[in-house]
């Protein structure tokens, strides 16, 4: 193989590019792919096969390539499994062969090929079973090391990827004659058209076909159409773009190679992952040529005829001495055209009878073998009962064409068998809104491609309510296409079907023999079609061989299912935006900057960030900070940002009625200016959330949710409203973002407020009132999540940062300060207040001892289901407090509880610990737990067992309210 001196429509011969393959310095030309430049350099051996490590070379010129997968080195790292046929060449490109050691020429794993009689289909299901322990230790690691293809570097740093949306009237997929014609007709009618083409150059087979359109070479015609489309504002041309999936509602998954394959992409994203929503789509993806399963058809130098033509025309690759093995008119015509163009075609072999008017020798016969260790040297054929060996550098196969209808099958549609072309063709409406045209629909002539493309565009325009100007069809001369199916050559030796997964005709026959005779069984048993090319070139052949083995017809044996993606797509692109911090939006409170300045480590709370604790230089560890902050609240005053709690404004004449319906307790009896703790159930009777409900005015309530459940509660309330009380006069709206809210808690809370407000309103416990802070209107609530006398003060969010700063300064002046989530947790555990550690979605009001809050006088969401027998009673896990018998003995959340005289076995389980903390106030570890029949067992001692952390200690069940059970401190 070598480069021709002339030709190569894709090449810019003025620019030579240096690159390397397996450390060998080579030269290519701008416009080359890695595959074309390797072929032009005579490098036929480019990789090793998956299972038998057979030498392999380039077979195709497109994304369907089963063999030529390489690693591409870049920036000190590398990318595995890159198709050499898709990798555009650039200056300095470094690539190397994969799945071989120590080198692609001398690969020690090639020993597998010698063992192949024992490694046939499904061999591993029958052995490697003894002894049992050897599987993970020996057999499996060996299998894993031998399998796989490229290596995945453990790299975190990579070029960025992008994702985007687009909408259009018509998406045309493929830019061959059919696609161009469709795009042109639709674009001239003014429709918004996106034309996507996988290749760098648009034109499809017009780029490598010698046929004429309107009296000019096909490529020239294509260039003219593209020039017109480029100038139209309603057309977006997307070369280097693969449409990889068809999804519901006219949505297509699309991958655009942006910086990928470029020498110096700079800050350009490697790829952009598009979600294109198209009202109509036209699939014009052409057809894929299929190989013929003859013995040793996998040798480097055996290629598809269409690929040989493509490399010849587009990349000026001279394949040397060529033998063509075909079974169809198109193959013969192509061979003649290539010979006329100067290709050294030595012979054409076809099992059919062929007219002997060719400029090369023709044989009616079959190829029955090939030779050449690392690349083809000769081809053995059988004709008229004789065997002949022909020296050759390239064997070009053409077993006919399969319409490239994969995308049409993505919605479970099954194509139909067309005996005329011995291939599956799409049926109408397999994907709603998508028409399939040209070769993808089995219409192989250029005339038919142009015609079906124009027709489909007209139909799409009619659906869109647009009139279509008459776009005359160009004149083309049509070559007939006839073939006699030839799936496998009956001869001695192994004949490959699936090159990428090393599946031979023998494997398929063996699968059938072992009862795996349905297509799906055969595929799964042999792994046929599951390799990186997803059976693009082999599924059809395997189906035919299976039909043969089972004595059935192809149509009766079945079809194959194509699932997304059409070509493999990088996870970095599909997951663009997931890397690093952008996986989920971040929500910051107004006090965030100040909190960070104070050195607080932040923790996630839903999407929010909240301070864990506020460290001081004297703290030995976080516990010191936590204890200190806890004691601020117990002995002085603490300040905490509670803005993350959900806040929902409920207004209207029926607002109270609605709240009575969604809360277990009654809110309509609440007086304006007062606040009540409320419990919401899911309709299935379990606790959904808790919070406070403040009646700001007669028809105006403000309710709070927990931080984590805010979104869920809003959706729930909207549902209840729209489903059950749409005609009630009230409205809900979230005001979470509008307000900054701070807890001010501790015996000196009033003193702090005095400094702040001058005059402290005389607010009873669970009262609320508007306040003015230097002209700013705020709200003051006397509520407490700490059990101390406390307030929550809310101001419009723009004042939050400054208010927090001033509150902290004032608190510090009073011997207190800011407190974080750790101290907040201690404070609430000391009081037995629950959070989502206890409200874990499985607990009921009964379990929490809050059954009294479920009003007997009214219906509410969840009430009916909460009365199921299994949701109440002694067998339920009930909320209790726990204290270690030795107060300084650490206890842990997640530990389980057992009777002291029983082992830690599941059958003896009594419950588990939900939350723990060390209480600096009570000088003891405290825990909250859910314990079977717990409320009746206060005073009992259980064994706490945390086997995971090797901790075991005796604990006493007690009232979950450890501190101030009467509530005097917060009330008085």
């Amino acid at each position: 193989m070598k480069r021709r001196d002339t030709g190569g429509s894709a090449l810019n011969r003025a620019r030579k590019l240096g690159f390397s393959f397996d450390g060998r310095a080579l030269t290519g030309i701008e416009g080359d792919t890695l595959a074309s430049s390797l072929l032009a350099n005579g490098a036929r051996l480019v990789g090793r096969s998956f299972k038998y490590h057979r030498p392999r070379g380039v077979m195709t010129a497109g994304s369907e390539e089963p063999n030529a997968m390489v690693e591409v080195l870049r920036d000190g790292s590398f990318h595995p499994n890159i198709r050499a046929t898709m990798q555009e060449l650039h200056q300095g490109l470094e690539a190397r062969a994969q799945n071989c050691w120590p080198s692609v020429r001398r690969d020690v794993m090639a020993v597998n090929d010698l063992l192949s009689p024992f490694l046939g289909a499904g061999f591993y299901y029958k052995t490697f079973m003894w002894p049992r322990t050897f599987w993970e230790g020996l057999y499996e690691p060996l299998i894993r090391r031998a399998a796989g293809l490229g290596r995945l570097p453990q790299s975190h740093q990579d070029a960025p990827h992008e994702k985007a949306f687009a909408f259009c009237d018509l998406l045309v997929i493929g830019s061959g004659p059919a696609g161009l014609m469709a795009a042109l007709a639709a674009a001239r009618a003014g429709a918004d058209v996106i034309l996507a083409e996988e290749d760098r150059q648009m034109g499809g087979r017009l780029l490598c076909d010698a046929g004429q359109i309107d009296g000019m070479p096909g490529g020239t015609w294509a260039a003219g159409v593209l020039a017109e489309l480029t100038d139209l504002p309603n057309v977006r041309l997307m070369p280097r773009t693969s449409v990889f999936g068809a999804y519901d509602g006219g949505v297509y998954g699309v991958m655009e190679r942006v910086g990928l394959h470029m020498a110096a992409p700079g800050r350009t994203p490697r790829e952009c992952y598009w979600r294109i929503t198209a009202k109509r789509a036209i699939l014009a993806t052409g057809a894929l040529e299929r190989p013929i399963a003859h013995p040793d058809n996998d040798r480097p130098g055996v290629m598809m005829l269409g690929a040989v033509a493509s490399y010849w025309h587009r990349f000026a690759v001279d394949p040397g001495r060529v033998v063509v093995f075909g079974n169809n008119d198109h193959a013969l015509a192509t061979a003649k055209a290539l010979a006329a163009d100067g290709m050294d075609i030595r012979a054409y072999i076809d099992p059919r009878e062929i007219a002997a008017d060719a400029p090369f020798k023709t044989y009616q016969g079959e190829v029955i073998g090939t030779r050449g260790r690392h690349g083809l040297h000769s081809v053995t054929l059988r004709h008229q009962g004789r065997e002949t060996r022909l020296e050759a550098d390239t064997l070009a196969l053409s077993g006919g064409w399969n319409p490239s209808l994969h995308l049409a099958c993505h919605m479970n549609g099954r194509p139909v068998w067309d005996a005329g072309i011995a291939a599956f063709v799409p049926r109408p409406d397999m994907v709603p809104g998508m028409a399939v045209v040209g070769a993808a629909a089995g219409q192989f002539s250029t005339h038919a491609a142009l015609m079906t493309g124009a027709q489909a565009a007209r139909a799409a325009l009619a659906d869109l309510g647009r009139s279509a100007p008459d776009t005359p069809l160009p004149q083309v001369e049509d070559a007939p296409y006839a073939l006699t199916p030839l799936w496998q050559v009956q001869a001695k030796g192994r004949a490959w079907l699936d090159f990428a997964n090393d599946v031979t005709t023998k494997d398929v026959a063996q699968a059938a023999r072992e009862g795996f005779a349905s297509v799906e069984h055969m595929k799964r048993y042999t792994t046929q079609g599951m390799a990186p090319d997803q059976g693009k070139s082999s599924n059809m052949g395997a189906l035919a061989v299976l039909a043969d083995a089972t004595g059935g017809t192809i149509a009766g044996t079945g079809t194959t299912t194509f699932r997304p993606p059409f070509v493999p797509v990088s996870i970095a692109a599909l997951g663009a935006g997931g890397y690093g911090a952008s996986f989920a939006p971040q929500r910051f409170t107004t006090s965030h900057a100040q909190t960070r300045r104070m050195g607080a480590p932040m923790i996630e709370a839903g999407l929010w960030y909240r301070p864990s604790y506020f460290p001081q230089a004297t703290d030995r560890d976080w516990r010191c900070a936590c204890n200190r902050e806890t004691l601020y609240v117990r002995h002085a005053v603490g300040v905490c940002d509670v803005s993350t709690l959900g806040k929902i404004d409920v207004q209207g004449p029926d607002a109270a009625r609605f709240l009575d319906f969604v809360y277990t307790n009654t809110m309509s009896s609440l007086k304006p200016g007062r606040v009540r703790y409320g419990l919401m159930l899911r309709e299935d009777g379990h606790v959904m959330d808790d919070g406070t409900c403040a009646r700001l005015a007669d028809q105006h309530f403000l309710i709070t949710t927990t931080t984590a459940a805010a979104g869920e509660v809003m959706r729930h309330l909207d549902f209840v409203q729209q489903a059950y009380c749409a005609d009630w006069a009230f409205r809900l709206i979230s005001v979470t973002e509008a307000w900054a809210q701070f807890a001010i808690a501790g015996p000196l809370a009033d003193a702090l407020l005095g400094h702040l407000l001058g005059d402290v309103p005389d607010l009873p416990f669970l009262g609320c009132t508007p306040v003015t802070l230097g002209g700013v209107e705020g709200r003051l609530f006397r509520i407490s999540f700490s059990g101390e006398r406390g307030y929550e003060l809310a101001v419009p969010a723009r004042y939050g940062a400054d208010l927090f700063r001033q509150l902290v300064a004032l608190a510090e002046g009073l011997g207190g300060g800011a407190y974080g989530m750790e101290a907040l947790n201690v404070l609430r555990i000391e009081k037995g207040f629950v959070t989502h550690a206890e409200i874990d979605g499985r607990v009921t009001a009964f379990d929490l001892g809050l059954q009294g809050m479920v009003s007997a006088k009214k219906d509410c969401i969840g009430k009916a289901a909460s009365q199921r027998p299994g949701l109440t009673g002694a067998a339920r896990l009930q909320l209790v407090g726990l204290r270690p018998v030795d107060r300084q003995s650490e206890i842990t959340a997640g530990a389980h509880l057992y009777p002291c005289d029983k082992p830690a076995k599941a059958t003896y389980g009594q419950g588990h610990v939900t939350s723990v903390s060390y209480s600096p106030t009570l000088q003891s570890w405290l825990g909250l737990a859910l314990v079977e029949n717990g409320r009746a067992r206060h005073g009992e001692t259980l064994r706490l067992d945390d086997g995971l952390r090797g901790l075991r200690t005796d604990v006493e069940i007690c009232n979950p309210v450890f501190l101030d059970p009467d509530g005097g401190r917060m009330r008085d």
Partner: protein, 416 residues
């Protein structure tokens, strides 16, 4: 024919022409003692254990397509026993023990690989939940280790410890967790049941269930009427339709779960890793593909295919947890149909119709359950008593409130 290294050697030397079908292809008889509707993993395992444990062999498995073509043929192959609610714990513990002896029992290499499963957690609250789970596993006699962040880093150095939106706090390590070759499980049970005399009837769709005076009497199929005294519905993914033939309306909604596999790669991921915050789980198959998935697509569907928002959610979660997979390429995606129950746990129970039994509602955890499900369903059908480890998988537990809600998300089918 017993499978062993010698038979592989002998057949290899003889050109692999002497292998025989792994199971027969019998025509259905007019009557059997028991029928199993559904030739997936659970149905085949039920038939196998009916024959093996209870000596009942006058049984047929009726499969509308090909054996193992349902969920057993399209899952992410994870095998684990890491449940924490009594009722689930003992069942999955039993299942894992059966897995550990499965190859010897079936004489079929299902490639059960106990490579270890690590569930990553991302907050103190999640650590507490993981501890509760791990302690439940220990109390059940299974294995669990609580790992800190640095210990996770030693085992899984490729996770992103610096930039993840939800930082890694640690992991719960279940060493006996792992994977298995899913198709082989179906084939192994099929071969085992067939060898014991069970008729496995493919391409035989049940079109009606005959009930007379509250008792099941047989079924109508595309291959004729078949009588039987007892019929088991083991058709996860299509349970509602099959049960409707007997007039039953079930606590099941069908949803899609998508899964993905990459192109083959050399060994790079030696465990099963799950990521609670992002609903993401991943392992590497023996062939080298990364097999991974995430949450449901969340809408009721029988289409066995999903949409892009679900795809993106999984890919984004993968990128935030282990960015190295960005360079791998997704090769194939597919969707399975999940029987979602209102508490996320399965049903193995009698139905209100005498002689009609139900094994259903596996949500997206059915694969690992196959051995115990078959074992317990066989016990139920043979003895009319629930097996002790499956006694809480009752059909009436939703009415009574005796729920098994591991996720704590309540009676919304798609949230489990």
């Amino acid at each position: 024919m017993r499978f062993n290294a010698l038979s592989v050697l002998r057949q290899g030397l003889a050109g692999n022409t002497g292998w025989r079908p792994h199971w027969r292809k019998p025509d259905p008889k007019p009557e059997y003692e028991m029928l199993i509707i559904g030739g997936g993993g659970h149905g085949l395992a039920t038939a196998y254990y009916l024959a093996k444990n209870h000596g009942l062999t006058n049984i047929a498995v009726l499969e509308k397509g090909y054996l193992g073509g349902g969920s057993i043929g399209r899952n992410t192959t994870i095998v684990r026993a890491n449940y924490f609610l009594p009722g689930n714990s003992e069942f999955y513990s039993h299942s894992l023990k059966l897995w550990e002896g499965l190859e010897a029992d079936l004489n079929y290499n299902v490639m059960h690989s106990q490579r270890g499963l690590i569930n990553i957690f991302h907050s103190d609250g999640q650590r507490d939940a993981a501890a509760r789970r791990g302690n439940a596993m220990l109390a059940q006699g299974d294995d669990a280790i609580l790992l800190g962040r640095e210990e996770v880093r030693e085992i899984l150095p490729y996770l992103d410890y610096d930039q993840a939106r939800f930082p890694i706090y640690g992991g719960l390590y279940h060493k006996r967790g792992g994977t298995a070759r899913h198709d082989a499980v179906a084939w192994g049970y099929a071969r085992g049941a067939d060898q014991r005399g069970v008729d496995l009837i493919e391409n035989c769709e049940v079109t009606g269930i005959s009930v007379d005076a509250g008792r099941v009497t047989g079924v109508t199929t595309t291959r004729g009427q078949i009588k039987a005294r007892k019929v088991g519905i083991v058709t996860a993914g299509r349970t509602s339709q099959v049960a409707a033939m007997a007039g039953l309306r079930l606590p099941i909604e069908s949803h899609i779960l998508q899964a993905f596999v990459t192109e083959g790669l050399k060994p790079c991921l030696d465990h099963v890793v799950t990521f609670g915050m992002g609903h993401f789980y991943i392992s590497q198959s023996d062939k080298g593909g990364l097999v991974f998935g995430g949450d449901l697509d969340f809408y009721a569907s029988y289409a066995a295919r999903g949409n892009l928002p679900g795809v993106e959610q999984v890919m984004e979660a993968g990128m935030t947890l282990m960015p190295m997979i960005g360079r791998a390429k997704m090769l194939r995606s597919w969707g399975g149909i999940m029987d979602m129950t209102p508490d996320g746990s399965p049903i193995i129970d009698r139905t209100p119709i005498d002689g009609l039994y139900l094994d259903a509602g596996w949500c997206y955890g059915g694969f690992k359950a196959v051995p115990a499900s078959g074992w317990c369903m066989a016990h139920l059908m043979a003895t009319d008593q629930p097996h002790p480890v499956a006694r809480r998988f009752r059909l009436d537990r939703f009415a009574t409130g005796d729920l098994l809600d591991e996720e704590g998300t309540g009676s919304q089918h798609n949230l489990h």
